[in-house]
């Protein structure tokens, strides 16, 4: 199985001046499951279609292994693609759908039948092989689309939001199936989704795109723990990270009534950029409640006062959606609390970020500052 390389690959749609994908640099390792994620219009699908050969590349190069495929037609790239709407051939049976690529490649009939049946067994489609797509449910159609891809044993799998047409429960189930299937087959896979939960759960690595620009590529863990900029910080994680703009203070930044320590270099970097504030990011689970007479309270003030608006109880824990006054403006915050001690609406909580779990970003550039 080969690697996939995007080398400054750029796509500018005809009639436009702004690139839909702007000098994308991406190295995908052999057998890796890479997820492209981003909001709609960020260029993730375009990137995938460039790799598939369905979209022209206006600059840079794309390589599969050592082969430059930048301007090759799709049929010469040895890739398989699963489309968002499955795009099954409606006039062919399930077996013919899955065997179509092999038939074109000139594989003999018995061999095709054997491979199709094998794939049918893996995907639990054996009894539907002679049906037409119209007689299948949404989940079954999705599996046929998967089957069409795996029967070919391609060099690279491309998947364009293959789960977005399934209902929520089936989506979670299929998510795991696809991930384990990919691990079993060991085929290099590029997977596009707008759902960051899918990205975090499925990918070996995740690439976040915004406005055609690559923001960060990293493992899901690192993506969560060390987002490279404000956009990634706000995009990855559910509920989203709390991002609060706070003024610089002596020895750190002022967070409500507390002063949280921030590394010297970070403060220097912010000052060098001419900023008087930095943006602090804290995940909902890293905001600790400060009780009266608490050790934390004695330590450094009472933290930030949050008025509870809504409480979402999820059983094991709950999320508190509240408003805090930061500087002159009020700011919405999310705090995770234990499911056993859920505050009431209207209560005022005092929260401080857990030490070592804060992310500091430059307010002007949005980039992460040194820890």
């Amino acid at each position: 199985m080969p690697t996939v390389t995007f080398d400054k690959a750029t796509r500018i749609y005809p009639g436009g001046t702004k690139p839909a994908v702007d000098a994308l640099d991406l190295d995908i390792a052999d057998g890796e499951f890479l997820v492209l994620v981003g909001p709609s219009g960020c260029g993730k699908s375009t990137s995938l279609r460039m790799l598939a050969g369905l979209e022209d590349v206006n600059g840079g190069a794309i390589r599969i292994g050592d082969r430059d495929v930048t301007h090759l037609p799709p049929k010469d790239r040895n890739i398989a693609m699963v489309f968002q709407n499955y795009a099954l051939y409606p006039h062919m049976t399930v077996a013919d759908n899955m065997g179509f690529a092999l038939k074109i490649a000139g594989v003999n009939k018995a061999e095709i039948r054997r491979k199709v049946e094998e794939a049918g067994k893996i995907l639990d489609l054996t009894e539907y092989l002679d049906r037409k797509p119209k007689a299948l449910s949404g989940g079954q159609r999705q599996r046929v689309a998967m089957g069409r891809a795996i029967v070919r044993e391609p060099q690279v799998f491309l998947m364009d939001e293959p789960l977005s047409n399934l209902d929520a429960k089936l989506r979670v189930q299929t998510r795991t199936q696809i991930a384990s299937l990919q691990r079993r087959l060991g085929i290099t896979t590029v997977y596009v989704t707008h759902d960051q939960v899918e990205a975090m759960t499925m990918g070996d690595r995740v690439a976040v795109l915004k406005d055609g620009l690559l923001q960060q590529v990293d493992t899901p863990r690192n993506m969560y723990d060390r987002p490279a900029n404000l956009f990634v910080a706000g995009f990855i994680g559910s509920p989203a990270m709390n991002l609060v703009e706070v003024p610089l203070a002596d020895g750190g930044v002022k967070f409500g009534e507390s002063v949280i320590p921030v590394s010297r270099t970070a403060v220097d970097e912010a000052a060098a950029a001419g900023d008087r504030t930095v943006t602090i990011g804290v995940r909902p689970e890293h905001l600790d409640l400060v009780g009266e007479g608490d050790a934390l309270a004695k330590d450094g003030g009472k933290g930030l006062a949050v008025t509870v608006n809504v409480v979402e109880e999820l059983g094991a824990d709950g999320y508190v959606y509240g408003t805090a006054k930061v500087g002159d403006e009020s700011k919405d915050l999310v705090v995770r609390v234990s499911g056993r001690a859920v505050p009431q609406k209207g209560e005022v909580l005092h929260v401080v970020p857990r030490s070592g779990e804060t992310h500091v970003f430059s307010t002007s550039s949005g980039a992460r500052l040194s820890d």
Partner: protein
């Protein structure tokens, strides 16, 4: 019948693009048309429309003496059926005319079938290329083809005839050789194909361009060349459009007199049924029973083609292909 309903409902499921207002409107129209008064009116109109054809059939089945003495409607009170008119008109001729219609019937088929298949094959390929192959100037070409429809074919008859018989020359340079096709079917096939192409390309393009983009792309990723996509994906899904155009073209060529008379002439070797029927109405003017039999023969074949191709008008061909 039940199968049709299933297809129709499947099509409705697969077409979420239809706005709710459109569906409600369609329902209202359907309700208005299914009212008893509307049904009665439609039946009445249909019967009125069919009466002349029925008279044609009745006359063609009556003996000569009956036709001469009484109207065709008396046929139902005093039925006397004979097939001798058909035998006469097909094989015997007589009354100063030599052969029957049979050779002309064969000619008609020999002209019509290729003159239907050629434009269908060419136009579907052109339509695919114009709809799905990106190349510079495809829009201009499509527009020009569409614009060709405004040229009346009568304008082209004489220049084409000159081209076929003498070729085209500028000074002594030959641009197009004289092919010596006189007395063959070829000029008629070529002319009908030319006259049919603009409309055929236009109709089929509109249908083929409506196929889901992902479906074409899926086939291309699966390794299919353009020709393979066309043959294995586009053609099977375009059968309703192909069938309807085939019927149009078949009827048009079958009923055509002008083009055939111009390019094939009136000789028994190549002239189609229409040419002969026109001659018959001159020479057999008084022999209604012979004329009606000939006319009925020329009706029955397009009818057979229509009913034969009708099963390709299937709705919901795309059901189950793409979602959303």
């Amino acid at each position: 019948m039940s199968e049709e309903t299933v297809e129709a409902s499947a099509a409705a499921d697969a077409a979420p693009v239809v706005p709710a207002g459109g569906q409600a409107g369609a329902k209202a129209v359907r309700r208005a048309f299914s009212s008893p008064i509307a049904s009665f009116l439609v039946i009445l109109l249909t019967v009125l429309w069919t009466v002349p054809t029925l008279g044609l059939l009745a006359t063609s089945l009556r003996p000569e003496s009956d036709v001469a003495q009484t109207g065709w409607w008396t046929f139902f009170a005093h039925p006397g059926i004979t097939l001798s008119n058909y035998h006469d008109v097909l094989f015997n001729g007589g009354f100063g005319v030599q052969n029957g219609l049979m050779p002309y019937l064969i000619n008609s088929l020999a002209i019509t079938v290729p003159a239907t298949i050629f434009p269908l094959a060419l136009a579907s390929m052109a339509a695919y290329a114009l709809a799905w192959v990106r190349f510079r100037g495809s829009d201009v070409i499509f527009f020009l083809i569409f614009a060709l429809q405004v040229v009346p074919l009568q304008m082209a008859l004489v220049p084409l005839l000159q081209l076929y018989s003498g070729g085209a020359h500028i000074g002594s340079a030959t641009i197009f050789p004289s092919l010596g096709l006189g007395g063959t079917y070829a000029p008629v096939w070529i002319s009908h194909t030319m006259f049919a192409l603009p409309l055929a390309v236009f109709l089929l393009h509109n249908f083929i361009a409506q196929l889901p983009r992902d479906l074409i792309e899926a086939a291309r990723v699966d390794g299919a060349s353009h020709f393979r996509v066309f043959r294995s994906v586009v053609l099977p899904l375009a059968t309703p459009a192909l069938a309807s155009f085939a019927i149009f073209q078949f009827l048009w060529v079958w009923n055509d007199l002008l083009v055939a008379l111009t390019f094939a002439g009136g000789t028994p070797e190549v002239a189609p049924l229409t040419v002969r029927l026109a001659q018959l109405s001159g020479s057999f003017g008084d022999h209604w029973e012979i004329l009606t039999a000939g006319a009925f023969i020329s009706i029955i074949i397009p009818l057979a083609v229509f009913f034969g191709l009708q099963r390709y008008f299937v709705r919901g061909l795309l059901a189950g292909s793409v979602k959303g």
